[in-house]
Amino acid sequence: MPSFNYLLLVILGTGLVTWLCRVLPFVILKKFNMPKLLQEFLSFVPVAIMAALVFDNMFTQHLGHLPEPNVPNILAALPSVLAAIITRSLLVIAIVGVATLALIRFLM
């Protein structure tokens, strides 16, 4: 591991980058109005980004080759979806997902 000073520089550099990504849209949209078409575009962001974050975890990437299904993660997703439909509680869904994956990893 590099020196603490270097670690601190990395933290500050990456912190600045993530902060700008978070804050600039708020600053710009405070000053300017958003075109109608952009609003329509953004209305798809929630469903698209959440689906992308979920599916990203269902495969293992091998650049240049077809992705490999992440079988434990896919198996753990099924009870999580069921828990979502039945309870609609994020806490229950998270616990069900974690417990299922822990069980699968224990058995495999």
């Binding site: 590099p2 912190g15 980058v17 708020f26 798809f44 974050l53 077809l66 997902g97 974690v98 822990a102």
Partner: protein, 236 residues
């Protein structure tokens, strides 16, 4: 969830998601300890970088002795999707002061963004400063505490995967995606499901040649374009 938008309700609405932060924050803390990062380093990274995915990437790149500029660039590519989430949320705070806008943006995360989108379906498309501020602060504190705790526990637990903790966030996004699909009345259900299916295909195909740090951003942009095109065309 209900239609209240005060600070207390913000805390209450965020409470069920805190388990997700604690799970993944502990996992990050443990991984950072294993990579030789001191507790204060893990805490500062959680407080300043404040991005789950980015923090894991930083630790692995530090371990691989990657050059400084490539670490920062990777984090930028990974964080660029936050431009989209921030833009989506910022629309609801146009009438708040600039300082409040900057403050809300500073602590906005994927999870409080997703929570806000769910909340909109209960409040006639309204959000409030106290509500989002409470959600942000709660999430930020839980994340920092869990990252620090995980690092301190690092010498006790060597493989966090055994407990499935790394899955807490994935499961939470499954739940948030489901709530979004059933709750969002602005887009037809069939179109929402089509977008989800498109994202699945794009993710699968994209994994062949798009680096993982850019994948979520690229897939989201394409899916939103297609969704917008379909909806716009249907309206004409």
């Amino acid at each position: 969830m209900n239609n209240e938008l005060d600070f207390r309700t913000g805390l209450a609405d965020t409470l069920p998601t805190v388990f997700g932060y604690i799970g993944i924050g502990l996992a990050f803390g443990i991984v950072s300890y294993a990579a030789g990062i001191p507790a204060i380093g893990a805490l500062l990274m959680a407080l300043i970088t404040y991005s789950g995915a980015a923090q894991f990437v930083i630790v692995s790149m530090l371990t691989a002795h990657s050059p400084y500029i490539s670490i920062v660039l990777s984090v930028f590519m990974l964080s660029a999707r936050m431009i989209l989430t921030s833009m989506t949320v910022a629309r609801y705070f146009k009438n708040e002061s600039m300082v409040r806008n900057i403050w809300l943006g500073t602590l906005l995360t994927d999870e409080t963004f997703a929570l806000s989108m769910s909340k909109l379906n209960y409040t006639q498309q309204q959000l409030s400063y106290p509500w989002l501020n409470a959600a942000n602060i709660f999430a930020y504190s839980a994340w920092a505490a869990a990252s620090l705790g995980g690092n301190l526990l690092g010498n006790l637990i060597s493989n966090p995967e055994k407990f499935g903790l790394d899955y807490a966030l994935v499961a939470m996004f499954i739940g948030l995606l489901y709530l979004q699909i059933i709750g969002d009345k602005g887009i037809k259900l069939s179109l929402q499901l089509s977008v989800v299916l498109l994202v699945l295909v794009l993710t699968y195909v994209g994994m062949i040649f798009i680096p993982s740090s850019l994948l979520v951003l690229v897939v989201t942009l394409i899916a939103c374009f297609v969704g917008m095109g379909v909806q716009h065309h249907a309206k004409l």
